[in-house]
């Protein structure tokens, strides 16, 4: 009877020590949940969710402060993925945070640009190239389409241009089998 107790006690102590050591040894830096949420977010860094970027929004979701339906660039698919990850019910996108738009890139009208550098300071991914009193330009391949550069521009020379379909980014469409209406055979036709 007593031996059994000692054995169990000893085992419990041993396992406790092992667990304690492994908790120290295999400590995970940062919050893995935040990283996983961040991986789902589109990294537009647009702030439409009400947080100053994708990572702060991911942190807020992980803490339970923010809802999963505040990211318009992520679209419906993003909301579904977040719902799956967080184990919560899917919610349609909250219209307060804006509607999903086709992916666009910013374009600077170089004739109007005065070289004020305000857009450069606003760009969350450093995708605008230029210097004070020199023309600015967008690095299109690095622009996330967040639209944050539109507001600060004093001469409104930045426009958003939707990405057009080219043979490069063209995708094969889902096969649609056309349903053909049979030619009308008249009222006396046998059915």
């Amino acid at each position: 009877m007593l031996t059994a107790l000692y054995i169990m006690l000893g085992l419990a102590l041993l396992l406790g020590v092992v667990l304690g050591i492994s908790a120290l040894l295999f400590k995970v830096e940062g919050d893995p949940l935040v990283a996983r949420i961040d991986a789902i977010l589109p990294q537009t860094q647009c702030g439409q969710c009400g947080y100053p970027g994708c990572k702060p929004y991911a942190t807020a979701i992980a803490k339970g402060e923010a809802d999963i339906n505040q990211c318009p660039p992520g679209g419906d698919a993003g909301a579904h993925a977040l719902a799956d990850l967080m184990g919560v019910e899917y919610k349609p996108l909250n219209a307060e945070h804006g509607a999903p738009k086709p992916k666009s890139v910013a374009f600077i009208d170089e004739n109007t640009c005065i070289g004020c550098t305000l857009c450069i300071q606003a760009c969350p991914v450093d995708a605008i190239l230029g210097a004070a009193k020199h023309m600015h330009t967008i690095i299109a391949s690095e622009c996330t389409g967040c639209e944050l550069c539109l507001a600060p521009c004093p001469v409104d020379c930045i426009t958003m241009q939707p990405i057009t379909e080219t043979p490069d980014n063209w995708k094969w469409k889902y096969p649609i089998i056309p349903i053909k209406a049979l030619p009308s055979t008249g009222s006396n036709a046998p059915l």
Partner: protein, 640 residues
């Protein structure tokens, strides 16, 4: 006894006729329709009125344009040079003038326009100075570099830049060169006719490629439905000891590189490896000929053999300049028959419908088929999958097409990828055998392009995250640096101060104090003045606004009596406001006068006004200006 064993084993393997070829799993036997276009020799086309050369004619990066509109170019002159490792140059197919560099519809399943160079031939067909290469006495490295300028790509249809394939990667040694002359798709006969007519040149090309690769052996694989070509090739390579011609059984898709290697050598290449990893490299027969013509005569890739067949009056193979409009080719083949509905580029199994007839012939165009409802009946409606697994039996890559179909149909792309969707060669065997007429390959193409797009988006998101994090780190670092600088400056100022003060003589200190007091007094005055002006102006503005607003309000009333009453009230209010205003103005004037007096008194105080620094002088003049303004305002109000 032995012969009986051999016989039975052959029976079991289903290879009673062929002697030393192996067999791959699956495959189909579609009707060939090859005889239509092999009755006539390879024809030539007159130089068309214009040539449209798309920049996108090969796999890889778009080449860089080297010419401008209205430039005159000679045949064989480079129009665009290869940019990046996987890219190919584009040359002028004939002499003429560059008339446009614009977006035109290209032969691509999307039917979208893309950048093209339009060349208007001058009809002279003058060659640029050609530089043949003595390949036997040139370093391999230089030959590969030279081949990069040739614009030659795989002419079997895959259009992979050839110079990459002969480049030694230093890892694997290629011991066998396989020449792909199987040409397994129905209708296509361009390689067949090429071998019948130009076997000698092909064999010379084989020698060059063997030398470049360092391959000891060479096997030419030809499907056994091309006996003339097989004989011609065997004759031509009689003198070469290490080159052999092998007939492979006619079975689609024996022309796929991995299938052909399996057929000829019995080697199966692991799905994640390249053929060079097992020491084999495959070249199309027409590519080999192009390489020969480039080294022997210096001719870059300017033309190819194209099969024009299907519903045309005289199906034939033609040697066509790249960029030739499809219409010229159709006309040369006697015109399309009346019931032609559309044109297919490539074969009926893997080809695609051309978006319009106004597309040019490109490096990928091995065959153009004029399609009619008789030849290519519209597919019957797709029925549900009955899980018969005939597609799995037919799949030459040993995939599970029915599973892939389920996953692609339900957008379960991760699962489709796990089932090796990207090993699918899109040969169309599964679609061909499907009793439910399901367009399986379309589903795989859809799933593949969705996965590729998702991967690209993921890559872009990762880049954006990285750049955002870097930016935040940079801002943080700059903030720290600034704080540090401030701290340093503050520290240095503290250490400097006592020194300078101690050194200063007493009289200057006294002068400084006087100056400081004067400045302080001036600043005080200026502040008071500004306040006074603001106050006065604000009062005036308010009262003016009120007086302005009243008539407008009065007008808005429709009831006259009410209006009259309102007017009375308004008048009372305005009078009151006027009184207030006057009182305010009077007060302001009082204050201004007091200020003036004070200013006059103060003005005498700093005698050393010339010694005051520029900024203080500016401040004083500003104050004077304000005084002037106040005076004017007051005067104006007084005269009212």
């Amino acid at each position: 006894m032995n012969s009986i064993i051999q016989f039975t084993s052959r029976l079991i393997r289903g290879q009673s006729t062929s002697t030393d070829v192996h067999k791959f799993n699956g495959g189909v036997h579609p009707p060939g329709y090859k005889d239509d276009s092999t009755t006539r020799p390879i024809g030539t086309l007159a130089i068309p009125e214009k040539l449209i050369l798309p920049l996108r004619q090969h796999v890889g990066y778009i080449p860089k344009i080297k010419v401008h509109v209205s430039d005159h170019v000679l045949k064989g002159q480079m129009l665009a040079e290869a940019e990046g490792s996987v890219s190919a140059a584009i040359h002028a197919p004939t002499s003429g003038t560059v008339t446009a560099i614009s977006k035109e519809v290209i032969p691509h399943p999307s039917g979208l326009p893309d950048m093209c160079i339009t060349l208007t031939p001058d009809g002279k067909d003058t060659w640029a100075t050609l530089q043949p290469v003595d390949w036997r006495n040139t370093a391999k490295k230089d030959l590969v570099a030279s081949l990069r300028l040739s614009g030659i790509v795989g002419l079997g249809g895959a259009t992979f830049p050839t110079h990459i394939k002969v480049r030694a990667d230093g890892k694997s040694h290629v011991h066998t060169l396989v020449i792909n002359a199987a040409e397994c798709e129905p209708y296509i006969t361009c390689d067949d006719m090429l071998m019948r007519e130009r076997a000698d040149e092909i064999v010379k090309g084989i020698e060059i490629v063997q030398y470049l690769l360092g391959a000891e052996n060479c096997v030419i694989g030809i499907e056994d439905n091309k006996p003339e070509a097989t004989i011609a090739m065997s004759e031509a390579c009689k003198s070469l000891a290490n080159v052999s011609v092998k007939a492979v059984p006619t079975l689609y898709p024996s022309g796929d590189a991995r299938r052909l290697i399996h057929l000829l050598l019995g080697t199966e290449i692991p799905h994640d490896k390249r053929s060079t990893d097992v020491g084999v490299q495959v070249f199309n027969v027409a590519t080999v000929l192009a390489i020969y013509r480039y080294f022997a005569f210096g001719e870059p890739a300017v033309n190819r053999i194209v099969t024009m067949t299907g519903s045309v009056n005289s199906p034939q193979n033609f040697e066509v300049l790249f960029g030739t409009p499809l219409q010229s080719l159709i006309t040369a083949a006697g015109g399309a028959k009346a019931d032609t509905t559309h044109f297919i580029m490539g074969g009926p199994m893997m080809g695609f419908d051309l978006p319009t007839i106004d597309v040019p012939i490109t490096k990928a165009a091995n065959c153009i088929i004029a399609a009619t409802p008789d030849l290519f009946a519209p597919p019957p409606p797709a029925m549900p999958c009955i899980r018969c697994a005939r597609c799995a039996d037919a799949c030459p890559v040993n995939l599970q097409p029915q599973e892939l179909y389920w996953f692609a149909k339900s957008d379960n792309f991760e699962k489709a990828r796990d089932y090796n969707l990207f090993d699918c060669i899109e040969c169309g065997c599964c679609t061909y055998v499907c009793p439910s007429n399901i367009p399986l390959v379309q589903y795989y193409r859809y799933a593949k392009s969705e996965i590729i797009a998702a991967d690209k988006a993921k890559e872009a998101a990762d880049l954006a995250r990285e750049r955002n994090e870097f930016r935040l780190a940079r801002i943080e670092r700059e903030k720290l640096e600034r704080a540090q600088k401030h701290a340093e400056r503050a520290a240095s100022a503290k250490t400097d101060e006592p020194k300078t003060e101690g050194e200063k003589p007493a009289n200057t200190m006294a002068a400084d104090d006087a100056k400081k007091a004067a400045i302080a007094a001036a600043v005080e005055r200026a502040k008071a003045l500004k306040l006074a002006v603001a106050h006065a102006e604000g009062q005036i503005n308010n009262s003016q606004e009120e007086t302005k607003a009243t008539p407008a309000e009065a007008q808005s009333h429709t009831n006259e009596s009410a209006m009259a009453e309102q007017a009375k009230v308004e008048q009372a209010v305005t009078e009151q406001a006027k009184k207030d205003k006057q009182a305010l103005i009077a007060a302001a004037i009082e204050r201004a006068k007091a200020q003036k007096l004070a200013a006059a008194q103060a003005g005498v105080a700093p005698k050393n006004i010339e010694n005051i620094s520029a900024t203080v002088q500016a401040e004083i003049s500003e104050i004077d200006a304000i005084r002037e303004k106040v005076k004017q305002t007051v005067d104006a109000k007084n005269s009212d």
